[in-house]
């Protein structure tokens, strides 16, 4: 029962703040909502037994990436609102409609396949004992997925250099 | 073999080129330091190759990995004594040429060093490849950087020379590719396996009529690169117009590609055709020796003179190779190294004065001994090395070649030996015209002697020249198995003697049957071939 309460509460929070992100007029507010959304997602991870990932979510996403967004929002001091100009060829309505249709279809598919019951989700942590799954995750990343891991690190390095080059003032 | 020495040697220069990509082009000194460091590192990592098992006849430091499985191409590296020496020569001359460019190149420095390092990898790869397609890849990889080196940093009619060099060599290599493909498909017909494995080709008994055509195809490719007599005209142009380092690399290493190809591919894979074409090649070589020397005598351009002397020397190398005796082949290989050392040094020498005076006309010099005494000594030593003075390296090669040729044909040896006389004539005359006499040009009076860096480029070459001249035994011992491998395959007379003296097991049976041109499809007697292959399979080195 507890897990159900937790899930629904968190789901509600996540969706609510997600909608808040895309509807807020002030980008700073969007950012704040995004942070809260991410924190909620982090809690979902904990519920699902992925503590390490949760911490990474908070540390990297909430504490790192979104700060970057906040910085950019504050640096970009707009003279006129970004939403001021609208291209007449935009198909906003169709887009929303299609997105909703996709969601509906996904729901339908889930409902359709949901007839084959799956076992309830048990947090992996409880199965792994007190040590948690951080160690297992580490093993996985540094053995099986070593090369993807290195590639990802290289990607980050390149992105870092790229960001520096892009953001530098051209004299 | 978990010990990827060859790959390390091969890719160190390339790594340098990659690192250089990320250095800002304005930081010229940093670029130079990095390039020199990597070139030196390339030399240093190649040094362990020297200590290979001299007695063992198999390939050393073998590395094999899939490359293009669908056509049977592999990343197959392996070396024997012969290629190890050439690799060491390459890494050394590569470093020296990079070092020598410090002040000579001021334009597009970054690109220059990158191109030079890529070239280095190409040359090393060609010497290491045991896969024919891989070899061809590296062979072509060399071409492009050299083209840029001549075309961008050269002097005189550099574009003309660069294009000539490129097209001429390309024509040869395209024909060579046809030969490679012929072997490839023939091998598939016989064994049912698609492979470019050179060791496999070396065990193949190709019918004579195929051999003949494939030999001609290879001949065109390699002879242009050597270059042999009628195909040599790109060389003086390319040498003359290339920058110093380009000339050095060209003379010291690139020309060896052709001779390397003959020894590694033409002779062992196509033994009967090699026999068949001996008179043609020998006469071209002998003509080349005398012709190159005579034309060198007529030159007024210092660099062009050295270039024509290259033609003469390489004729000597080819002559030794196609005498098909162990002594001459050993001499031929030694002479390749010697040519790399002494002609490379001679081009460096021209580069030194060219950098100071910006002219290559011999008549613009004179009396330099007075103003540049150290330079004069270095030049003298290298001149003597080039004309084969005993107790210097050049003599060992020429002696072995002529001794090996003499037992085959006295006339060849007599004519070829006259090239030595002419060699002394043009080199000493050059030396006299530039170094002796009074300093009659005011520009020459102010010339500075070698600085430490320049001397450092020569020091190893002088040391090598003396060492090879006085105590060549370690060098020659390293060639025993390579020479035995080729000669047992191509000249059965020496089989027993070589087997006895070197304790080796030749990798392939000697072809003793007379050349039997059987037209039509090759025999598909796979059982017979399998037996042959079994016999030919490299055995454990249990000989000793």
């Amino acid at each position: 029962m507890l897990d159900a309460i937790a899930f629904y509460t968190l789901a509600a929070l996540i969706l609510a703040f997600a909608i808040a992100v895309i509807t807020a007029r002030n980008p700073v507010h969007s950012v704040v909502f995004l942070v809260i959304n991410f924190l909620a997602v982090a809690i979902v991870y904990i519920v699902l037994g992925a503590e390490f990932l949760a911490m990474i979510q908070v540390l990297v996403y909430a504490g790192g990436i979104v700060v970057l967004y906040l910085f950019v929002v504050m640096l970009v001091n707009l003279k006129r609102g970004p939403e001021a100009h609208q291209d007449p060829r935009r198909q906003t309505g169709a887009g929303v409609g299609l997105a909703v249709a996709v969601l509906a279809e996904l729901t339908a598919i889930l409902a359709y396949t949901g007839r084959n019951p799956l076992p309830a989700v048990v947090p992996a942590a409880s199965a792994r004992g007190p040590g948690g799954n951080t160690e297992q995750l580490g093993w996985l990343l540094y053995t099986t997925y070593l090369i993807p891991f290195e590639v990802a690190s290289m990607l980050l390095l390149v992105a870092m250099i790229g960001a520096i080059v892009l953001a530098r003032k051209v004299d | 073999m978990t010990y990827h020495l060859l790959s390390i040697v091969l890719f160190t220069p390339l790594a340098g080129a990659l690192v250089l990509l990320f250095v800002p082009r304005a930081q010229v000194d940093a670029i130079r330091w990095i390039a020199n460091a990597f070139a030196l590192a390339g030399f240093v990592v190649s040094l362990p190759l020297w200590n290979f098992d001299v007695q063992a006849a198999q390939w050393h430091f073998v590395e094999k990995a899939e490359w293009i499985p669908s056509i049977g191409a592999t990343y197959y590296l392996g070396v024997d004594g012969f290629s190890i020496l050439l690799i060491l020569l390459t890494t050394l001359m590569g470093f020296i040429s990079v070092l020598s460019s410090w002040e000579a190149i001021t334009d597009r420095v970054k690109e220059y060093y990158i191109v030079l390092l890529v070239l280095q990898t190409g040359m090393l790869g060609a010497f290491m490849s045991l896969d024919f397609l891989l070899f061809f890849l590296f062979w072509e990889v060399m071409l492009v950087p050299m083209y840029f080196v001549i075309g961008i940093w050269g002097g005189g009619r550099r574009l003309y020379s660069a294009i000539k060099f490129f097209l001429y060599t390309l024509v040869g290599s395209v024909v060579m590719l046809l030969g490679i493909l012929a072997l490839y498909f023939y091998n598939h017909t016989v064994t049912g396996v698609y492979t470019f494995d050179v060791t496999q080709f070396q065990q193949l008994a190709v019918p004579f009529n195929i051999q003949r055509w494939v030999f001609l195809a290879f001949f065109l490719g390699f002879a242009i690169k050597v270059p042999m007599f009628p195909f040599h005209t790109w060389l003086p142009d390319a040498h003359t117009d290339a920058p110093t380092a380009g000339s050095v690399i060209l003379a010291a290493v690139l020309l060896k590609m052709g001779t390397y190809g003959f020894i590694r591919f033409s002779l062992p894979i196509l033994p009967e055709a090699s026999h068949y074409f001996v008179p043609l090649i020998v006469w071209l070589s002998v003509i080349g020796i005398v012709y190159g020397a005579l034309v060198a005598l007529a030159q007024t351009d210092w660099k062009r003179l050295v270039a024509y002397s290259s033609v003469s020397h390489m004729g000597m190398v080819m002559l030794g190779m196609f005498a098909l005796t162990p002594v001459a082949l050993t001499g031929s290989i030694v002479q390749q190294l010697n040519h790399g050392i002494s002609t490379g040094a001679l081009f460096l020498i021209v580069g030194i004065v060219y950098e100071r005076r910006h002219t290559r006309e011999i008549s613009d010099y004179g009396g330099l001994s007075k103003v540049m005494p150290v330079f004069a000594v270095v030049f003298l030593i290298m001149t003597l090395s080039s004309i084969g003075l005993p107790a210097l390296n050049g003599f060992i090669g020429e002696l072995l070649i002529l001794a090996g040729v003499f037992v085959v044909n006295k006339l060849w040896a007599a004519v070829a030996a006259s090239g030595i006389v002419l060699g002394a004539a043009y080199m000493l005359w050059l030396y006299q015209r530039t170094m002796f006499g009074t300093v009659d040009k005011p520009e020459n009076a102010k010339l500075t002697d070698l600085n430490l860096r320049e001397f450092a480029t020569f020091a190893p070459l002088i040391a090598l020249a003396v060492w090879i001249g006085i105590y060549p035994a370690p060098l020659l011992r390293r060639l025993d198995t390579s020479v035995a491998r080729v000669i047992t395959r191509v000249n059965s007379v020496y089989g027993p003697a070589l087997a006895k003296s070197n304790c080796t097991t030749p990798t392939a049976p000697a072809i003793t049957r007379p050349p039997a041109p059987t037209p039509g499809a090759p025999s598909l007697d796979l059982t017979g071939f399998a037996a042959c292959a079994d016999e030919a399979a490299p055995k454990k080195p249990g000989g000793k």
Binding site: N26, V28, H29, V32, V35, L39, E51, F52, M55, I56, V58, L59, A62, G63, G64, V67, L70, F71, M74, P130, G131, G132, T134 | -
Partner: protein, 339 residues
């Protein structure tokens, strides 16, 4: 059920109150110590030797008018101090004040939670704190707070890199992320990790100074330049929250340092027989003592050192501490694997 809910709840209540009280007295302590350093007396009026001064201060702040600037972004203006304070407080959830103690017949752990990613938890939670500062600066809609907040957040992010990298090399030594596990590791090995990772301890301490905006890195609140920093526009309770957050953060840093490097609740000299009497002192007292010493150092430094210039600060962070951290990481890894 009691173990699951009641005990933690009690723990939370105790710890929170203790921390808040401690923070208030930290202020007093700081004022006193600085005064003594400067040959003054410090607060003397409220209570004997000013011992009740914190209470007076708290009452003053609570009763003061809470002003919201007119052009401010109201919601965020309110939210910012909360975002600052909350992470500082919940970070205490994983701090092990001691081992286990028997209390009313229950074996009660002297920590709220032994999370297996405890160290990571601390890092991530404190990284949230930066929002408080940025948002405070932004929402004040005023020049100085905005500049201060940008400075502060840049500083925090910069030093966070060095600190996190350094923590990684510490983890290489400890081989666990659990803070309790780290203390137990020091117990097993009979050595404080400060002796294994001295460089890390120093860098982490410097990073801690920077992350808490303390002298000599207190540029974000440089009165001379920015009239008080990002909380210029704040007053009353919301100002108090920033204040609390800063001091709470100091305590967190000290506590974490104690745990990582100074043996946490362990008594010193475990293998010196003559010092065995020290065992009779409970572990949590040891812990508080060590933390207090570190806090004293914080204040001491504030009383001693001048402020850095901004470019110096950045240079120190990026060009000194991060390379040092990287080298330390590599060395630690090599030592770990090969020795």
């Amino acid at each position: 059920m009691t173990d699951l809910f009641v005990v933690p709840l009690l723990q939370i209540v105790v710890v929170l109150n203790a921390v808040l009280v401690a923070v208030t007295y930290m202020v007093l302590l700081e004022r006193k110590i600085i005064a003594w350093v400067q040959s003054r007396l410090g607060p003397m009026r409220v209570g004997p030797h000013g011992i009740l001064q914190p209470i007076a201060d708290a009452l003053k702040l609570l009763l003061k008018e809470d002003i919201t600037p007119i052009r401010a972004d109201r919601w965020i203006f309110t939210l910012a101090p909360i975002i600052s304070l909350v992470p500082a407080l919940i970070a205490f959830a994983v701090i092990p004040f001691g081992g286990e103690a028997t209390l009313f017949g229950h074996r009660v752990p002297l920590y709220i939670a032994n999370v297996n990613v405890g160290l990571l938890y601390i890092v991530s939670i404190t990284s949230i704190g930066v929002y408080g500062i940025i948002l405070a600066g932004y929402s004040s809609n005023s020049k100085y707070p905005l500049l201060a907040s940008l400075r502060a957040s840049a500083q925090l992010i910069s030093y966070e890199v060095a600190v996190t990298l350094m923590l990684v090399s510490v983890i290489v030594t400890t081989r666990t992320l659990s803070l309790v596990g780290i203390v137990e590791g020091q117990m097993r090995q009979h050595i404080w990790y400060v002796f294994i990772q001295p460089v890390a301890a120093v860098v982490l301490f410097i990073g801690g100074l920077a992350e808490t905006n303390r002298t000599p890195f207190d540029l974000a609140e440089a009165e001379q330049e920015l009239t008080g920093g990002f909380h210029t526009e704040y007053s009353g309770m919301r100002f108090a929250m920033f204040f609390l957050a800063e001091y709470a953060n100091m305590i967190v840093v000290s506590a974490v340092m104690t745990t990582l490097f100074f043996g946490g609740w362990l008594s010193p000299f475990p293998n010196v027989a003559a010092a065995h009497f020290l065992w009779y002192i409970p572990g949590w007292i040891w812990f508080l003592l060590k933390t207090f010493v570190l806090l004293y150092v914080f204040i001491w430094i504030r009383a001693t050192l001048p402020r850095y210039r901004y470019d110096q600060l950045m240079r120190l962070g990026w060009k000194v501490l991060i390379p040092v951290a990287l080298v330390n990481l590599v060395v630690s890894a090599i030592v770990r694997v090969f020795l």
